[in-house]
Assembly symmetry: C2
Homo-oligomer: 556 residues x 2
C-alpha cells in the first residue's frame, strides 16, 4: 500500500460524491440483509450488524477492488450454519462463529503468505455454479418454515422435510400472513417500481412491518419477533481458545475460506473487467483475511463479498474503496437509530427478505448451455446441486472438485493421433479424415493432439503402429509436435519406446515443430543418446526431406 | 476366443518343441521362487506350488500373451503379507489368502466387464518405478533376518529394525551359514557361469542344500526348515464366506489387483513390442481374473505375471500360450518328486533365493534420468520409494497416485500465452522471445500453449490484456489455437469473457487454426450467438486479412 496524498486531494474534489451515493444505496440493502443472514446462520441478529462494521474498514485498507461489498453473505451463512452444528456441546453459536471467522482469516492469511491464490482454480465453473444454485435452493427451503411459522428446522432438504413431517406440518396463520405479505410486496416491488424505489423497498418494508407488528400486538398472536437486542456496543474479545472447538470447525473453515475467496474473486474480476481494471488475487486474499479477523475480534461472523451488493456498488457508481468505509459509517448510524425498533421485527419478514434476495440470483441458463456443450460437465453441475440440497455443502464441494479432476484426467487420457496430409498447393497439413488433402507414400505424417502425459501414453506405440499397419510401405514417421505442450517422464519413456519399436521395423521416427520449452527439456535429458531421427522446424520440410525426386503426392 | 483347429495342427508340427524348452527353463526357476514367495507372503510353502498349477492353465485359456509367466510374484507377496495382517483374529493366513485371491479375481473380472482397463493409466512411470524399487528393498530387508536366523520380523523397515532391536540383534550361526553360503553361491552363479547353468543354479542349490541339511542334522543345530508338507493334493474349496473378513481385505485386494494388472500389462506390452506383436489389455484383465479365481479355488495365493520369469520365457523362445500349460505340467511333476525332500529345506536358503531374485532386478538409472529431465517427478519417485520402505505399500501407492495427479494439475495450471511473429519470408509463426521474427502493428498474434481447462483459464483475460497493454495500437487479436486440444465448460466461459472484454475496448477477437474436434464442440454450443470475430484456417491469413495495403512487417 502507498499513501499518495496528492491522490487523496484529488479524491476529495472529484470522487467523494460518487462514493457517498453508492455507499448509501448499498447500506439500504445491507441493513435488512445483515440481520437476515445472521438469522440464517443461526446467530443473533445483531451479529450481522457487527459483521458489517469493522470488516468493511479492514477490507478497504488491504483489499484491491473498489466494488466489492464485503459483509454477511447468504451462501456463507448457510455454510456457517452447517459448520456451527459441529461445535462441541456447551459452546454458544455466537462464540463458535467468532472462532470460525478467526480460522477463516488465518487460513486466508496463510494462503496469501504461501502464494496459494492459484488454488482458486480448483473450483471449476460447473462446480461453482452447481454449488451456488444448490445453496440458493437450500437457503430458500430452510427459510420456508420460518416464513410460514412452522417449527421445522434444518439446513438440508431431507432434514427440513423430516422436521416438518414430525411437527405434523403445522403453521401459524398470523406469522404466515406477515411472511407471505412481505414476500408478495417484495416481488411486486422488484417488478413494478422504478429501480431506485425497488432498491429502497426491502428497508421500507422492514420499517412498515415493524410498525404493523407493534400496532397489531403480533407477539400476542404468537408471531416470532427478532426481540430486544442487548445494548449495542462493539464487543472486542479474543475468540475462545479451546483446541477441541478449533479442531471441530477447521474443515468447515477451510471450505468456507475457499468458497468465500473464490466467489469474491469471481465478482471482483467480473466487475473489474467491466471497468477495464485489473484485480490482484493476492491483495484480495489479504483483504478478506483482514476482514474476517476483524469480524472475529468484534463480535461478528465470517464475511465475504456479496454478489448482489457488489453489482449494486458498481452500478451505483462507486469509484474507490472509500465507498466501503462509508457503508460502515452508514451501518453504524443505522444501528443506533434502528436498534430499539428491531425488537418488533417479525422473523417471517426477514425470511421473506432472504428468499427474494437469493432466488433473484438464481440462474438456470448455464445448465442448458452446459448440456449442449459438454454433457458430463452438465451432469457434474446437476450432481453438485443435488448433493448440496440433500447432503450438505462441504461434502458436495469436495466431491465436485474430485469430479472435475476426474473429468480432466479422462480428457487428457484420450489422446487423438491423426493421420495428416498436405492441403494441396500449400505447406499446411490437416487431418486426412476431415479435409481434402494429399499424402506421400513412404513418409507417414502424424499429429499428436495432446501433451504426452502418464494418463495417455500407455498405448502411444500401439496407436502409431495401427497407422503404420495401413501404410506398410512407410520408412519414416514424422510426428507433428505443435499440439504437444509438455512431455512428462512417462511420456519421455513412451517416446523412447515408440522410437525403438519403429527402429526394430526399420522405420525412422522424426519430429517436427517441437515447441521451444518442450525441446529445452528434451535436450536436458539423455534423449540425444538414443534418438536417431531428425528435428524439423516445419512439418512440410520433414515430409519432403531427403527425397531424390520431386515429391509424389497422392490422395490418401 | 476361437478354437481354430487348423492352427492347432500347425502348432503340433512347428511350435511344440520351442514351447517345451521354454517351459522347462521357466519351471526350473519357478520351483524355488514359488516356495520362496509363499514364505515371503507369510504362507505355507506348498501354497506357492498350488498357485503355480491351475492359475497358469486358466491364464493360458483366457489371456492374450504367449510370454507372460503367471504365478507367485515377489512384489505381490509383500503386498499380500501386509494385507493378511489386517484379517480378523481367528482366520488363518491360508484362508485369508484364498479370500484375497477371490476378491482380486472378482475385481479384475469386474474391471474387464466395465472396460476399466484405462485405469491402468493411473500409475505413472515415476510412481510405478518408485514403488517397485521400494518394494524390492523392503523385500530384501524383510528376508535379511530369515537369512541370518534372527527372530526379527516385519514388512516395513521401522518394524523390522524395532523387532531386531527388541530381540537384542541375536543371530543363529548355523542358519546364517546356510543362508550366506547360498547367497554367495547364487551371486557367483549369476556372474561366473554360462547362461544355461546360471538359470539352473537356484534349483540345483536348493537340492544341494536340502541334502546338506539332511546330512548335517540341521534341525538339531536349530536351523529353521520348511518342514514336513501335508499330503499334496490340490484342495478344491470355496473361500470362507465371512463378511468381516472380505471387508477387511477389500482395500488391499483393490491395490493388489491394480498393481498386479499394471505390472503384468507393462511386461506383456514390452515383450510384445520386441516380437512386433500387440497386447489386448482387456484380454489380460480377463486372463488374470481367471488365474486369481482359479488360485482361490485350488488352495493358492494371488498371482500375477513375474517380470523375470516372463523375460526368461521370451528369451527361451516360447511361441504360444501352450508354454504356460507346459509349465503347470512340469510344476505338477516337480511337486510329486520334490515334496518329501522339501521338509529338509532351510528357510534361510529360500531367503537367499528371494534376495538374489529381487535385487537383481533393482534399477537405479531411472532416478538419475528423472532428476535430469523432471525434478518434481524424480522427487515423487523417491518419495514413493521411501514411503513403501517405511510405511507400507497401499498408502504409498495411494499418495503416489495423488502426487502424479497434483503434478498433472500443476502442469495444466500454467498456461503459456506467447506473442508470436512471422518467420520472415514464410507463413510460419514463432515465439517472439525465441526467434527472429516480425510482427504487424494493429494485429496481435498470440498462441495459447495449453488446452483451455478450468485449472488454467481463471486469468486468461488478464494475460491477454497484459500483451495488449504493450501494444495499445492493436485493433485485432488473433489467437493461434492449434495447441488447444480441448476447451471445457470453464474454458468456454473464459473465452466468452475474453471476447467481451476485448470488445469493450474496441478490439476484435479472431481465432485461427482451431482443431476440428474443438470447433465441432464450439458449434454445438451457443457460441455463434456471441462470437463476433472470424475464424481462419491458417494463422497467416488471419494476420493479413482485411489489410488495405501490403502488410507492413516490423520487428517486435
Amino acid at each position: 500500500m502507498h499513501f499518495d496524498l496528492s491522490g487523496w486531494r484529488d479524491y476529495r474534489q472529484r470522487l467523494l460524491q460518487d462514493d457517498l451515493l453508492a455507499a448509501l444505496v448499498v447500506s439500504v440493502l445491507l441493513i435488512p440483509q445483515s440481520l437476515a443472514y445472521a438469522m440464517l446462520a443461526g446467530l443473533p441478529a445483531q451479529v450481522g450488524l457487527y459483521a458489517s462494521l469493522l470488516p468493511l474498514l479492514f477490507y478497504a485498507a488491504l483489499g484491491s477492488s473498489p466494488f466489492l461489498a464485503v459483509g454477511p453473505v447468504a451462501v456463507l451463512a448457510l455454510m456457517i450454519a452447517q459448520t456451527l452444528g459441529l461445535a462441541p456441546a456447551g459452546v454458544s453459536p455466537g462464540e463458535a462463529a467468532l472462532v470460525l471467522a478467526a480460522e477463516i482469516g488465518l487460513i486466508l492469511a496463510l494462503a496469501a503468505a504461501l502464494r496459494l491464490d492459484a488454488l482458486a482454480a480448483l473450483l471449476s465453473v460447473p462446480v461453482l455454479h452447481g454449488f451456488e444454485t444448490g445453496a440458493t435452493l437450500t437457503i430458500a427451503a430452510s427459510q420456508l418454515p420460518v416464513l410460514l411459522g412452522s417449527p421445522a428446522q434444518g439446513f438440508d432438504l431431507p432434514t427440513i422435510l423430516q422436521s416438518a413431517a414430525a411437527s405434523g406440518w403445522t403453521l401459524k396463520p398470523v406469522t404466515a400472513a406477515f411472511g407471505l405479505g412481505a414476500l408478495a410486496l417484495l416481488v411486486l416491488a422488484r417488478q413494478g417500481l422504478t429501480p431506485v424505489l425497488a432498491r429502497l423497498a426491502p428497508l421500507l418494508l422492514l420499517l412498515c412491518m415493524m410498525a404493523l407488528a407493534w400496532r397489531s400486538d403480533a407477539l400476542g398472536h404468537g408471531v416470532s419477533l427478532v426481540g430486544q437486542l442487548p445494548p449495542l456496543h462493539l464487543p472486542f474479545t479474543l475468540p475462545r481458545l479451546q483446541a477441541e472447538l478449533w479442531w471441530a470447525l477447521l474443515p468447515g473453515a477451510a471450505v468456507i475460506a475457499l468458497v468465500g475467496y473464490v466467489s469474491s474473486l469471481v465478482v471482483a474480476e467480473s466487475l473489474a473487467r467491466r471497468h477495464a481494471q485489473r484485480v490482484t488475487p493476492r491483495r484480495e486474499l489479504m483483504g478478506l483475511a483482514a476482514a474476517n479477523l476483524a469480524a472475529a475480534l468484534s463480535g461478528g461472523m465470517p464475511v465475504a463479498a456479496s454478489f448482489s451488493r457488489s453489482v449494486l456498488m458498481s452500478d451505483a457508481g462507486a469509484r474507490t474503496r472509500v465507498a466501503g468505509v462509508l457503508v460502515a459509517f452508514f451501518m453504524a448510524m443505522a444501528m443506533l437509530l434502528l436498534a430499539p425498533a428491531l425488537a418488533w421485527l417479525p422473523k417471517s419478514v426477514l425470511a421473506a427478505t432472504i428468499m427474494v434476495a437469493v432466488l433473484s440470483g438464481l440462474k438456470l441458463g448455464p445448465y442448458a448451455q452446459a448440456w449442449r456443450y459438454a454433457r458430463p460437465e452438465c451432469l457434474l453441475m446437476l450432481g453438485v446441486t443435488l448433493l448440496v440440497l440433500c447432503w450438505g455443502v462441504t461434502g458436495a464441494l469436495g466431491l465436485g472438485v474430485l469430479g472435475s479432476i476426474a473429468l480432466l484426467l479422462q480428457r487428457t487420457a484420450r489422446p487423438h493421433v491423426a493421420l495428416i496430409g498436405r492441403v494441396p498447393g500449400t505447406e499446411h497439413y490437416r487431418n486426412v479424415g476431415r479435409y481434402q488433402v494429399e499424402c506421400q507414400p513412404g513418409v507417414l505424417g502424424l499429429r499428436i493432439d495432446e501433451s504426452l502425459l502418464f494418463t495417455n501414453v500407455r498405448n502411444l506405440s500401439d496407436v502409431v503402429q495401427g497407422h503404420l499397419d495401413h501404410h506398410p510401405e512407410a520408412r519414416r514417421v514424422v510426428l507433428l509436435m505443435s499440439p504437444v505442450n509438455g512431455i512428462d517422464f512417462s511420456g519421455l519413456e513412451a517416446l523412447r519406446e515408440l522410437h525403438d519399436t519403429l527402429a526394430r521395423q526399420g522405420v525412422r521416427l522424426d519430429l517436427s515443430e517441437v515447441k521451444g520449452p518442450v525441446l529445452d527439456r528434451l535436450k536436458a535429458s539423455d534423449w540425444q543418446r538414443w534418438f536417431k531421427g531428425r528435428l524439423y522446424l516445419s512439418h512440410h520440410h520433414g515430409m519432403v526431406d531427403g527425397l531424390q525426386q520431386a515429391p509424389d503426392w497422392v490422395s490418401p
